[in-house]
C-alpha cells in the first residue's frame, strides 16, 4: 500500500487538511545527551521546509525520527494527522534521500529506482514502465543498466531522488543531499530540486547547514540550535527579522546593537546592507539610529564592499555597500575616514 500510486489529493483539501508532518513535544535522548528537546513543528502540505543549523544541532535527528530510523524518547509524530510515532519506517509514507545517497551497490540503476515498487509487489511490466518514466524525469535513462559505482556524484544524487520519488510519498526527506557535490553542480541541483518539488507537489523537508541553500530553496526555514528550534519563518522573515542572536549570526552577517544603544532598550540586529554610510559631516536622518565613527577596515568582495566602522559608542558596525560606482574608480570611502553610520529603526530586528 505504500507504493500504490495515490491520486494527488485535491487542492481544496489541503487548506483544511492537517499538517503534512506535525511534531508535538518531540524529545530525543541518547544516554545523557539530549539531542532534541521538546520540539514542536508543523510542516504544511506541499511546502518546502528547510531545517537549518550547525552540525549537532539536532536537525538530522529530527529527520531520522520522521523517517522512523530513530525512536522518539517522548512526544508524538503525525503524518497527515495520523500518529506514526510507533510505526516502523517501512510502513510510513515518507521517503528519504540520504546524504551518501545509499544506492544499493549490487543492483543496477533501474533496479535501484524500482526497488520500492518491487518490495511492494508491483508486477514487473508495470514496474519497468514507471522506472522508465522516473529515469526520464531525472534525464538518466541512458544509464539504467549500469551499477551505482559507475555513475558520477551528480548522477547518483539524481538516482537517489528518483528512487525516493517513484513511490509518490506524502513527504520527501532530504538529508544534506547536495553536501557532497562541488559548488557549480550544487547550484544546478538546487534549481532542479526546486523545479521537481513544484512539479510533484510533494512536501519536502530539507536538512542543511548551508544558510544560503536554505534561503534560496525554501518556503520556510526552521533554524536549529542545541536541539531546539530558534525560529521558523519564511526566508525573508528569518533573514530580515531574526528572533534571536543565534539566528542573526548563523544567517549571514549581522550587527548586534546592545540594548544600551537602542531607543527601546532592547538588543537588536541590523544587517550590514541595511546600514547607510555617510560622511561624518552629514546630518543624522530623522527616525534613524545614528552613530559617528572611523572606518577601521575595508573588505572588497566583488559585488559589494564591507566597511568596518569603529564607532564612538564603542561598538563595531559593519556597513555593506554595492559596488555600483564606476568599476575602475576607488570607493568613495577608505580606511581612516571619519563617517556616520545610521539605519532606519524598522530595519533593525529586536532579538531575544
Amino acid at each position: 500500500m505504500h507504493a500504490s500510486a495515490q491520486p494527488a489529493s485535491s487542492e481544496s483539501d489541503t487548506k483544511t487538511a492537517p499538517g503534512a508532518v506535525t511534531l508535538t513535544g518531540v524529545t530525543k535522548q541518547f544516554g545523557d545527551f539530549t539531542a532534541v528537546e521538546a520540539l514542536d513543528l508543523e510542516v504544511k502540505p506541499g511546502e518546502f521546509l528547510s531545517m537549518l543549523g550547525p552540525s549537532g544541532s539536532g536537525k538530522t535527528t529530527v529527520l531520522r525520527m520522521i523517517a522512523g530510523f530513530e525512536n522518539v524518547t517522548s512526544g508524538s509524530i503525525r503524518l497527515s494527522g495520523l500518529d506514526v510515532t510507533e510505526v516502523p519506517p517501512h510502513a510510513r509514507q515518507v521517503n528519504t534521500v540520504f546524504q551518501d545517497y545509499a544506492l544499493f551497490p549490487h543492483l543496477t540503476i533501474a533496479e535501484n529506482v524500482g526497488y520500492g515498487l518491487r518490495v511492494a509487489g508491483v508486477p514487473r511490466a508495470e514496474r519497468a514502465a514507471q522506472v522508465g518514466v522516473a529515469l526520464e524525469q531525472v534525464r538518466l535513462s541512458a544509464v539504467s543498466n549500469r551499477l551505482p559505482h559507475q555513475l558520477s556524484g551528480g548522477q547518483r544524487q539524481r538516482i537517489a531522488l528518483a528512487r525516493a520519488l517513484i513511490l509518490r510519498p506524502q513527504v520527501l526527506l532530504l538529508d544534506e543531499p547536495l553536501g557532497a557535490l562541488d559548488k557549480q553542480l550544487r547550484e544546478e541541483m538546487q534549481i532542479e530540486l526546486k523545479q521537481i518539488q513544484r512539479e510533484v507537489g510533494i512536501t519536502f523537508i530539507f536538512v542543511t547547514h548551508d544558510q544560503e541553500e536554505a534561503l534560496t530553496l525554501s518556503d520556510r526555514v526552521a533554524v536549529f540550535n542545541n536541539g531546539r528550534i530558534e525560529q521558523v519563518g519564511t526566508a525573508r522573515e528569518v533573514y530580515e527579522f531574526p528572533a534571536t542572536e543565534f539566528v542573526a549570526k548563523f544567517l549571514g552577517q549581522s550587527n548586534l546593537v546592545p540594548a544600551s544603544l537602542s531607543s527601546d532598550g532592547m538588543q537588536s540586529s541590523v544587517r550590514p546592507e541595511r546600514v547607510r554610510l555617510l560622511r561624518a559631516t552629514d546630518p543624522a536622518s530623522a527616525g534613524s539610529i545614528s552613530m559617528l565613527g572611523t572606518i577601521s577596515e575595508t573588505v572588497y568582495s566583488g559585488p559589494t564592499t564591507r566597511f568596518i566602522v569603529a564607532t564612538e559608542a564603542g561598538v563595531s558596525i559593519i556597513a555593506e555597500r554595492p559596488n555600483d560606482h564606476h568599476p575602475s574608480a576607488e570607493s568613495a570611502f577608505s580606511r581612516g575616514d571619519r563617517v556616520r553610520v545610521e539605519w532606519t529603526k524598522d530595519h533593525a530586528s529586536r532579538i531575544a
Binding site: 522512523g68 530510523f69 517501512h90 521517503n95 545509499a102 551497490p105 518490495v119 559505482h149 513511490l167
Partner: protein, 270 residues
C-alpha cells in the same frame, strides 16, 4: 612499481621456482604413482597401470569413507554457516555485556590444539553424555567439526559486515521493505561472497581434519583422512592411497577456483 635489476630478478625467480618445486613435485609424485603397477610408491615408476584406479572405484571402504567425509563436512559447514553468521551479526550490530568474551570464545577452538579438543569431546561424549543415556554417535563427529568451522564463517562474514554501509539498509526500510525483505534483497547480497568463501573454508577444514576425528568418530566409522592414515600404517596397498590422494587434489581445485572468482567479483564492485 619497484624496479629490479637483472640479477635481483634472476635470484627472486630462482627462489620462487625452488619453493614451487618443493610444493608441487611431491604432489606430482603422488599422481604419477597412482598409475604405477607396484604396491609401493617409487621413482621412477616401473610400469604404467590403472589397476589401482580400478580397485579404488570398486572399493567399498573408500566409498564409505568418502561419503562420511562429505556428510560430516556438509553437516559441520551447515552448523558453521548458521551459527557463524548469527554470531557475526550479533557482534557487529549490537552492544552487550560480555561481547569481547564471546568474540574470544568463538575464535578459540581454531587456535586450540586438535588433540585437546578431541580428548575433551571424547571425555564428554563417553563419560558424561553416555552414562545419562545420550548417544551422540555420528552427530558427535559433526558437532566436533562444527565447533572449529564456525570461526571460518564468522571471520569472513564479520569482516564483510563491517564494510557494509549501514544507510543502505535504512534506505531499504525507507522504501517500504520489511526487515526480512531488507535482509534478503540488500543485506545478504552484500555479504554473500564472504558467506560462500566461509563455507568453502569450513568444508575444507572439516574434510582433512584428522586429530579431532580420531577421538570423536564412532567405532568402525572412517572418514577419508582416517582411512588414508590406516592404509599408510599397512603399506601393502599404498598405491591405493595415491589414487585417493589424486582425486582429492583434483577436487581441491574447485573451491580454490570458486573463491578466487568470488574475490574478484567483490573487488570489482568496491
Amino acid at each position: 612499481m619497484l624496479r629490479l635489476s637483472l640479477g635481483a630478478k634472476f635470484t627472486l625467480g630462482t627462489i620462487v621456482a625452488i619453493a614451487l618445486a618443493f610444493m608441487y613435485i611431491p604432489l606430482f609424485l603422488v599422481v604419477v604413482n597412482s598409475f604405477s603397477a607396484a604396491r609401493l610408491s617409487s621413482w621412477p615408476i616401473d610400469s604404467f597401470s590403472t589397476i589401482w584406479w580400478e580397485k579404488a572405484f570398486v572399493s567399498e571402504p573408500i566409498r564409505a569413507a568418502l561419503l562420511n567425509s562429505v556428510i560430516v563436512g556438509l553437516g559441520a559447514t551447515t552448523i558453521a554457516l548458521i551459527l557463524g553468521t548469527l554470531v557475526a551479526f550479533a557482534l557487529q550490530r549490537y552492544t552487550f555485556f560480555g561481547k569481547q568474551s564471546v568474540n574470544l570464545l568463538v575464535v578459540l577452538p581454531i587456535a586450540l590444539p586438535g588433540i585437546v579438543t578431541g580428548v575433551a569431546l571424547n571425555n564428554t561424549y563417553n563419560r558424561v553424555l553416555e552414562p545419562i543415556g545420550i548417544e551422540v554417535g555420528y552427530f558427535g563427529m559433526i558437532i566436533a567439526h562444527g565447533s572449529f568451522c564456525i570461526v571460518m564463517v564468522f571471520n569472513n562474514v564479520l569482516a564483510r559486515l563491517r564494510r557494509i554501509n549501514p544507510s543502505i539498509e535504512e534506505a531499504s526500510r525507507d522504501l517500504g521493505a520489511t526487515p526480512w525483505q531488507t535482509f534478503r534483497l540488500v543485506t545478504f547480497p552484500q555479504f554473500r561472497s564472504a558467506f560462500v568463501a566461509g563455507a568453502i573454508l569450513a568444508f575444507a577444514l572439516s574434510f582433512d581434519e584428522v586429530v579431532v576425528t580420531i577421538f570423536t568418530a564412532p567405532p568402525g566409522v572412517d572418514t577419508l583422512p582416517l582411512w588414508i592414515m590406516n592404509q599408510m600404517a599397512r603399506p601393502n596397498e599404498a598405491s591405493l592411497v595415491n589414487v585417493v590422494a589424486t582425486i582429492v587434489i583434483v577436487a581441491s581445485f574447485i573451491p580454490v577456483w570458486v573463491s578466487q572468482r568470488l574475490a574478484r567479483g567483490a573487488d570489482e564492485r568496491d
